[in-house]
């Protein structure tokens, strides 16, 4: 369990993290979202004990990171932003070094290094110096060092940044497999990642939490939640049929596609059945018809823009 209480971090006059409080329990994969400069990385640096908080506290499994940093750091595996590693070492030397610092030696060390090399598929580059590796491999080396001690808490700052779609998929699968009995915190600005791996998402903006919930809960805050999207084969006045229908908030034409419309729900009740009935009785020239889940991107833009406006 990670407990974050009233955490603030100030740099001179600038407040990067502003009175943040939340808990993360075992088995949760927390997606940490926010625009660039929102304070995601700073929060992670404070949780991992790299930076000292200006005020507030971080407790990892009962160990306060400021008071007993060594005990807390033992429980944490951390992939810093940009996956830094010692470029003049080979992959295997580097992982051996991290393993030793993590307190392993002899046969156990060898086993652990071999295991993570297999887990993140680094076999082909194990004897290569890290500076000669591609961005994707470097990121995986960073991931390997973070999981070598099978940590209870895994903190990953943009783990899939710079990876190709196959590698992204692979890393996400890896995180999902690892997550079962762990606490995982991932920062990202790729929203599809949240739906793909996270059980919970926190959106922060200007160092404050602006949304916190499961991806589905956040999606339900979208104005497109429950909306029905229709594509027509010819021009038809949907607006006329739909005005006055209970639960329908309005009709929006898609900007980039002709004859495609989104019928927005006002949130009071599901409108799918009603709209579908209407479409049949009025013989709409329909080509495509489906319900939208709500867009995380829309929620993200909405809550972070609101926060930015408040600051101005």
């Amino acid at each position: 369990m990670i407990e974050i209480k009233n955490l603030s971090k100030k740099f001179d006059q600038f407040t990067a993290v502003d009175d943040l409080s939340f808990n993360v329990a075992e088995g949760e994969v927390l997606g940490f979202l926010g625009p660039n400069g929102a304070g995601k990385s700073t929060t992670m640096k404070v949780i991992t004990g790299f930076l000292a908080p200006t005020s507030g506290s971080v407790t990892v499994d009962g160990h306060n990171i400021a008071q007993s940093p060594i005990d807390a750091k033992r429980l944490i595996g951390y992939l810093p932003e940009g996956a830094p590693s010692y470029a003049d070492m080979t992959t295997s030397e580097f992982l051996n070094f991290i393993g030793k610092v993590r307190g392993f030696s002899g046969q156990e060390l060898q086993q652990r290094v071999a295991h993570v090399i297999k887990e993140v598929e680094l076999e082909s580059v194990a004897q290569q110096t890290i500076e000669t590796l591609s961005k994707g491999f470097k990121r995986r080396v960073g991931l390997a060092q973070a999981i070598i001690h099978d940590p209870k808490v895994l903190i990953l700052d943009e783990p899939t940044d710079g990876l190709d779609p196959n590698q992204k998929h692979h890393v996400r699968e890896l995180i999902k497999n690892l997550a079962r009995d762990k606490i995982v915190i991932i920062s990202t600005h790729i929203l599809e990642e949240v739906t793909a791996v996270c059980t919970r998402a926190i959106i922060i903006s200007s160092g404050r939490i602006v949304a916190d919930g499961t991806p589905a809960e956040l999606e339900s805050k979208s104005r497109y939640h429950q909306a029905v999207r229709v594509s027509l084969s010819e021009q038809y006045d949907l607006q006329a049929d739909l005005s006055g229908v209970p639960g329908v908030a309005g009709v929006e034409a898609e900007a980039d596609q002709q004859l495609s419309f989104t019928i927005l729900a006002d949130g009071s009740e599901p409108i799918f059945a009603r709209v579908s009935e209407l479409a049949q009785s009025k013989h709409w020239p329909i080509e495509e018809f489906h319900v939208q889940r709500g867009q995380l991107e829309d929620v993200f833009r909405h809550v972070t823009a609101k926060e930015a406006m408040r600051d101005e």
């Binding site: 640096k45 790299f50 991290i98 610092v101 993590r102 060092q145």
Partner: protein, 244 residues
């Protein structure tokens, strides 16, 4: 093995994984040779000691040691590995000390490889080997002092060239602090105690005594305390600067 030992080993191996250590050692040996035999008049003096060899060391270290020290922390910050290192379960003191010791051992290795000159002087005459041993020890401690300054300067900046220049400047100050030219330049109204304090901080004051064979424990203590103080300053600077 302790974290200190693991960090020390990694750092030392990384010097030898790149050409850096070899270039350092070779250049150190060549310049040492030139200084001793050409400029120092090793043969012409006709004396069986290594005074010409050791008396150039402060000036040799002035440029060679900052070259090793400049990357100690500047590179860690530039590449972001400092974040990796300091979120591992290690104390900052272990990291500072481990890195310093690795660089210090490298200078020690370079110094040890000058042993042919020790053999030469024994072959040619009958030197006081106790004096030579003391001078080697003093020289190594002085190199450590240069390195400790370099460690702190390297922690001040992400740019290793700036770290190099700052280190050379500060080391130069400490080298000349004890030199008679500077001490004579003090106006007469300056109290003697100030002049003495100034002189006491100079490297030459302590090293010259050791090089001449007067191995006073206070001179070694000076270098030890000096190294400790600058390493402490390194840790404080790292703590302050690591955020940016």
């Amino acid at each position: 093995m302790s974290s200190l030992g693991i960090i020390f080993k990694r750092e030392l191996f990384s010097y030898f994984a790149t050409p850096l250590a070899y270039i350092f050692i070779v250049i150190f040996l060549i310049t040492n040779g030139i200084f001793t035999f050409d400029l120092g008049g090793f043969y012409a003096r006709g004396q069986a000691d290594l005074l010409p060899f050791f008396s150039f060391h402060p000036w040799l270290y002035l440029f060679m040691v900052p070259a090793i020290a400049m990357t100690l922390w500047a590179d860690e910050r530039k590449t972001g590995t400092i974040e990796l290192l300091l979120t591992l379960p290690v104390r900052l003191s272990e990291a500072v000390l481990g890195k310093f010791l690795a660089a210090w051992v490298l200078t020690g290795i370079a110094l040890l490889l000058t042993f042919p000159i020790w053999i030469t002087v024994n072959y040619l005459g009958d030197p006081d080997n106790g004096v030579i041993f003391a001078a080697y020890l003093g020289s190594w401690f002085m190199a450590g002092s240069f390195l400790a300054i370099g460690s702190c300067m390297s922690a001040c900046t992400k740019n290793s060239v700036i770290a190099f220049i700052l280190t050379v400047a500060i080391c130069f100050l400490f080298v000349i602090m004890g030199s008679p030219i500077l001490l004579n330049a003090f106006p007469a109204w300056v109290p003697q105690i100030v002049v003495d304090a100034f002189s006491a901080l100079g490297f030459l004051t302590h090293f010259d005594a050791i090089a001449k064979g007067v191995l006073d424990i206070r001179d070694l203590l000076f270098f030890t305390v000096f190294i400790g103080a600058w390493l402490l300053a390194s840790a404080i600077v790292i703590e302050m600067k690591k955020a940016n």
